[in-house]
């Protein structure tokens, strides 16, 4: 994919279903390589310097360059790309470009997958210079990520897994399989029309939002009594409805409450898809909507039907009522009206509005000056909390850099395939230090002032854990409500 690649490594699994053999890029040994000064200047100079080495870039040669090549070159300006194609090599999706114009590139990806498959093996990733290319071949579809953002193959695999789940959520795995059994050459774009914006939003979120990385959701900070009243209003109006599986209230992509049928759990990955659906659809604000959606972890082969509506013009929290019964729209619509009336009567709408307006807390509220930022995941409930990004992480470049650090630390600590499962890691870096601590109950990733003495770190982190404990009932949903 990159003609100038000097160093290409194939990272294959050692047989079907085997865990990934992690071949680390020699450059990756330092956590800070990708934020080195050189890189910063390179970014600031923008891309031309990269392409100028290319002889065909001379003005007189421009006409000679094929359309394909021109498109591929425009893609090179991106740090990260994601492609989706069918096993027959038909383009389905490309982040940051028109898949239509990339037919030969898709052909190449297909060939790479199949030439490794011919040896009864699976291609997982390729390292080519600064680029890492990850593959996921699942069912009738092939997912490919090309990135120079420094992600590990495990992270890219996670991202591609989410892209796959999103397609399943739109069509179901069963329908997907059937389509391609009937017509191997089917152009899936016909069936995915309008889902592009969900995919775009999801792929952006995967880079921006720690929720995906942690496999957790963040909750809107509310007094527990308010949250209980909200859950109670939902239970009152929904408990008698047959076939209602989940009732979920979201505010600014945060969970306000989740009420579920006793025997079913909602997997965080499914919840992420629902949050993504709401976040990428402004039109839900204008009317009540009724849509089929498949939650792959709940049932990859069937649709649930979702009644989606915002609570009120004066309260922009979004309620999702998910049922297995496709004829329940009006029943759910009525239940929703009942819920809103009760929430209004008990002043819960104001409480939600206030919490949304607050928008979260900063490290100043936590008041431990040595700690700049952190992610804390409560493992048993798959919920997390994090302060807003404040200085120095309030500009997008610094924020991205910190998120990338969290990603890498998470990968080292936890993801399957990494050689070590660590409990505590402390990394001294140029711009900040990172402390990562994983127990059976929590995961903590904290960015700490670089000049703090190592001995002083643990007491500060303990102070942070105490603060979280004291705020726990506001920041997390501690009791699970069922119908």
């Amino acid at each position: 994919m990159d003609g100038s690649a000097t160093f290409v490594e194939l990272d294959r699994s050692v047989g079907p279903g085997c865990s990934e053999v992690s071949i680390l890029d020699p450059n990756e040994s330092s956590f800070y390589d990708f934020v080195s000064d050189e890189e910063v200047t390179e970014r600031k100079q923008e891309e031309p310097c990269e392409d100028s080495e290319d002889s065909s870039d001379n003005p007189e040669d421009v006409d000679a360059v094929s359309e394909d090549e021109r498109v591929v070159r425009s893609l090179r300006e991106r740090d990260k790309l994601v492609f989706i194609l069918s096993e027959a090599g038909k383009p389905i999706y490309c982040r940051h470009g028109s898949e239509e114009k990339l037919v030969s590139l898709f052909g190449l990806m297909q060939a790479l997958v199949f030439c490794v498959q011919d040896d009864d093996d699976q291609i997982k990733s390729i390292t080519a210079g600064a680029y890492r290319i990850a593959f996921l071949n699942k069912g009738p579809l092939i997912f490919v990520a090309v990135s120079r953002r420094g992600e590990t193959p495990g992270q890219l695999a996670l991202h591609l897994g989410y892209a796959q789940s999103l397609i399943v959520s739109v069509l179901t795995a069963a329908q997907l399989k059937k389509i391609f059994e009937q017509r191997r050459n089917y152009d899936l774009r016909k069936l995915l029309g309008g889902a592009d914006r969900l995919m775009d939003n999801l792929l952006d979120g995967l880079e921006q939002d720690p929720a995906y990385l942690l496999g957790a959701v963040s909750c809107l900070a509310l007094n527990p009594s308010v949250r209980d009243s909200i859950s109670d209003a939902i239970v009152r109006h929904c408990a008698k409805l047959k076939n209602l599986v989940f009732a979920i209230l979201l505010a600014d992509s945060q969970l306000v409450t989740l009420v579920r049928m006793k025997k079913y759990m909602l997997h965080p990955a499914d919840l992420h898809l629902l949050i993504n659906l709401v976040a990428s659809s402004e039109s839900f604000k204008l009317s009540e909507s009724w849509t089929p959606i498949c939650l792959p972890r709940f049932d990859a082969n069937g649709f649930l039907h979702a009644h989606v509506s915002y609570l009120a013009d004066d309260c922009q929290a979004c309620l999702l009522l998910l049922t297995v019964d496709k004829d329940q729209f009006f029943v759910l619509s009525e239940a929703k009206q009942g819920i809103v009336q009760r929430l209004r009567r008990y002043k819960c709408l104001e409480a939600i509005n206030r919490a949304m307006k607050n928008g979260g807390y900063t490290m100043q509220d936590v008041n431990i000056p040595e700690i700049r930022h952190f992610l804390y995941k409560a493992r048993p409930t798959a919920q997390y909390t994090a302060p807003l990004f404040s200085a120095p992480y309030d500009d997008s470049y610094e924020k991205d850099r910190l998120l990338a650090l969290y990603h890498r630390m998470h990968q080292r600590m936890l993801l399957p395939g990494s050689q070590r499962h660590l409990k505590l890691v402390y990394v001294v870096g140029k711009y900040e230090c990172l402390l990562c601590w994983v127990t059976a109950f929590f995961e903590l990733y904290a960015a700490i002032e670089p000049l703090v003495e190592k001995e002083a770190v643990i007491p500060r982190v303990e102070k942070l854990l105490n603060w979280i404990k004291s705020e726990e009932s506001r920041l997390f949903i501690l009791t699970s409500t069922t119908f």
């Binding site: 029309g193 309008g194 914006r197 039109s283 909507s289 989606v308 009006f330």
Partner: protein, 218 residues
């Protein structure tokens, strides 16, 4: 769609004028402007970049016709192919349908004809169908001639108007024309999803849904 919980006409109250409730569905290829038409009709808004509808959106709007108040329950369906198999759920029991095409795109007119055919075969035999040639503000890019569409509409017994959700041209008019054509008498049975009955459900003020939030009588 399943029946609503509170249904059936109340015995008195019709003296102040009738209130009729009709289920109306919008069908058509994706990106022809179905949601924009509804949004213009219900909220008087237009968004240049209206995003594609997910599943179907439900809205209500009320119009006054002489002494009758007509409440439309509008199902705005998504035009993408993957939702096609769900369409019967929305047009079943509908008293009216607006089939929309884009005057600057011949294919969407072909698709509209397909919807008309499906409605005439599968929907209630008395359904009132209107054909809307939307985006009439794009006259310079016109691909479907007015006369062609009108002839087609006449042959198939459809109401026909060219509309523009952007300029609001003919938007209220097409809904009003439908309201005029819908039967406002005859008592639908209680217990009522409009079901197979093609007649609007007469309701009284007391029976009004709290849900709509739509302002009465524009």
């Amino acid at each position: 769609m399943a029946a609503r919980g509170n249904t059936g006409p109340k015995p008195n109250g019709s003296a102040q004028g009738k209130i009729c409730q009709f289920k109306l569905v919008l069908l058509g290829e994706s990106a022809v402007g179905k949601s924009s038409l509804v949004l213009r009709f219900v909220k008087g808004q237009f968004h240049e970049y209206q995003e594609s509808t997910i599943g179907a959106a439900f809205m209500t709007q009320t119009v006054c016709l002489d002494d009758t108040t007509v409440k439309f329950e509008i199902w705005d369906t998504a035009g993408q192919e993957r939702y096609h198999s769900l369409a019967p759920m929305y047009y079943r029991g509908a008293q009216a349908a607006i089939v929309v095409y884009d005057i600057s795109n011949q294919d969407t007119f072909g698709r509209a004809k397909g919807w008309v055919k499906e409605l005439q075969r599968q929907a209630s035999p008395t359904i009132v169908i209107a054909l809307a040639g939307n985006k009439s503000d794009l006259a310079s890019k016109r691909m479907v001639e007015y006369d062609e569409a009108q002839t087609y509409a006449e042959e198939h017994g459809l109401l026909f108007m060219e509309t523009s959700a952007k300029t609001a041209m003919n938007v209220n008019d097409i809904f009003l024309a439908i309201a005029k054509k819908l039967p406002k008498s005859g008592g639908p049975g209680p217990g009522g999803d409009a079901g197979s009955s093609a007649t609007g459900r007469r309701i009284t003020e007391a029976d009004n849904q709290p849900s709509s939030g739509a302002s009465c009588c524009k």
